[in-house]
Subunit: 333 residues, 2 copies
């Protein structure tokens, strides 16, 4: 493996000049630049990244923390962050660790302080927890996806509003007996889930339907949505006419459960989700669309801004969401 000294020697210049020629910083004549570049080419030189990092203080790496890879939202978010980072020549160091896992603590205590990352994108951080304090300690730009404290950048849809809009869509169609599936069950659920439950309650309250509020816990996965829906829909006397799923995975689980129970969707039961999951169209699911991949792009953009200007004010961005009407919701009979 050749070093910059080899390149410099072959081009007949000093290390300093070779470095300037290759990085494009400082004064280098056209002729010298060409000589250095062809020498580098000939030796198939590639800068040793540890040496560059040590000298510049930049690692060109961003740490990304997600609580789960299997959930669509996080895998899309990750894909978006990956695309944006790759474009800018940054590496993505992945930490996929469930929220309450034992291996989560050491990441914040030992791994992040090692000055290995120029910045951190953190999804699934419990609000105002110990973890947030640790993130602030490392003095690097941080972008939270979801909850946040004022001292960091953040991006998220308005979860409460999304759930409220979903609920109001059902109310507008004439439903009054509307149940909510999801929230408060195990590791795969997130803080955002709690805000969605709150949005559902608020919409029910506003419509004077507070006595009809019903929440069936589920963890945010399709099987858990399926199980919760089987329970909820099993008794035809207590069955609601409409269901709001905390996310599309849960809503799809509910659609499948309804079919299995012989309940027609949307004629006998309306189901609405939140997310616009890749499978939503296949199930003709009405939903509130959000675009986690775009949120990943946006998170990277915010991080880069914080890198360029460490004193920039922190941004708190509300990502777009919108009702997408398909064929899983209709007026009650």
């Amino acid at each position: 493996m050749s070093t910059i000294a080899d390149v410099a020697a072959r081009a007949g210049v000093s290390k300093a000049t070779a470095s300037r020629a290759l990085s494009g910083r400082g004064y280098v004549s056209r002729a010298t630049r060409d000589k250095v570049e062809s020498a580098a080419q000939a030796l198939s030189y590639a800068a040793h990244s540890s040496a560059t990092s040590l000298a510049t203080g930049r690692t060109q790496t961003v740490g990304v923390i997600v609580p789960a890879l299997g959930r669509w939202f996080f895998s899309e978010l990750l894909a978006g962050a990956q695309e944006a980072l790759l474009d800018r020549g940054y590496d993505l160091a992945l930490f996929a660790v469930p929220e309450h896992s034992d291996s989560r603590r050491p990441i914040f205590d030992d791994v992040l302080p090692r000055r290995r990352y120029d910045g951190i994108i953190a999804a699934g951080i419990e609000p105002r927890a110990y973890e947030m304090a640790q993130l602030l300690r490392i003095r690097r730009p941080v972008v939270c996806v979801g909850p946040y404290v004022d001292e960091v950048n953040a991006i998220s849809i308005d979860d409460a509003a999304a759930a409220a809009i979903a609920t109001e869509h059902l109310i507008d169609l004439g439903h009054t007996d509307i149940a909510f599936i999801g929230g408060g069950a195990g590791d795969a659920s997130s803080f955002g889930d709690a805000r969605r439950v709150a949005g559902y309650r608020a919409a029910m309250d506003a419509a004077g339907l507070q006595q009809n509020v019903r929440v069936s816990p589920a963890s945010g996965t399709m099987p858990s949505g399926f199980d919760a829906a089987v329970d909820l829909l099993g008794n035809r006397r207590t069955r609601p006419t409409a269901v709001v799923g905390v996310c599309d995975e849960v809503a799809i689980g509910a659609v499948i459960a309804a079919r299995r129970l012989g309940i027609a969707v949307p004629t006998a039961l309306s189901v609405i989700g939140i997310d616009d999951h890749q499978h939503a169209a296949m199930f003709a699911l009405t939903t509130i669309r959000q675009q986690p991949r775009e949120q990943g792009h946006e998170a990277v953009r915010m991080l880069m801004r914080g890198l360029e200007d460490p004193d920039a004010a922190h941004e708190h961005i509300t990502a777009a969401s919108a009702l997408v009407v398909r064929n899983s919701t209709a007026a009650p009979r």
Copy 2:
């Protein structure tokens, strides 16, 4: 931020001794070690990883390449690799890039040669392609998940055997009109898909059913399996009595399509998949189980072996797979 020189000064020893005390290499007296450790504690010292990497030549980072994050197999594989690497104190640099994407080439040309990774785990590498040649150039241990050349480590289930076992299960039940869904369609499909098609053909041939071979292309996703199944099952006169899905996502898409068409599973149609996807149980899907998470662990183990002993012979491991009978397959009527 404090350096090892600060720690050494506070403990009243030289940098060399402080380094030895903290790393545990070389001779250091018990008393000195304690002094250095409490100094490090007091200054909340953490070694600068770029400096360590430059000095040792090890980055403590492994690059992992996957073609897609949304497919269950790869997200499980990634989760497994992450767990195993975190345990060993390694970082995971993620490259999630579709097989035929434009951003794929630069990764092999520019990113990998930068000597940033101690090793590479590559899934979704086209066999014997340019990419494999580039992987060999960087002189670091490589583990391929899926196809390989002799010069690298590799791990995979026997895809052909898995598809053959699935097909034979249907033949044993008495089916003769067995179609295959999947293979040869777009980016989300993989080389392994081709070998599964071959396994299906081989099993059909061996049973003298070669004239009944039918392959409907699909890309490995649930919606694509759904669409292909709707086409295949739409005409009741040409409908097969059993279907092999290239993977569980496709098979589940087929189960949903059958329900939508009013075809009872398993009485009127048997469906079998390959993978044992997290949703397989919910659909009572008979399948061939493989455990990509374990394969991720195993890949890391192989990589670490290559790191410890660069001259070790390359391993080619066939991962376990086994028939799991649930309730989506039955004898034909």
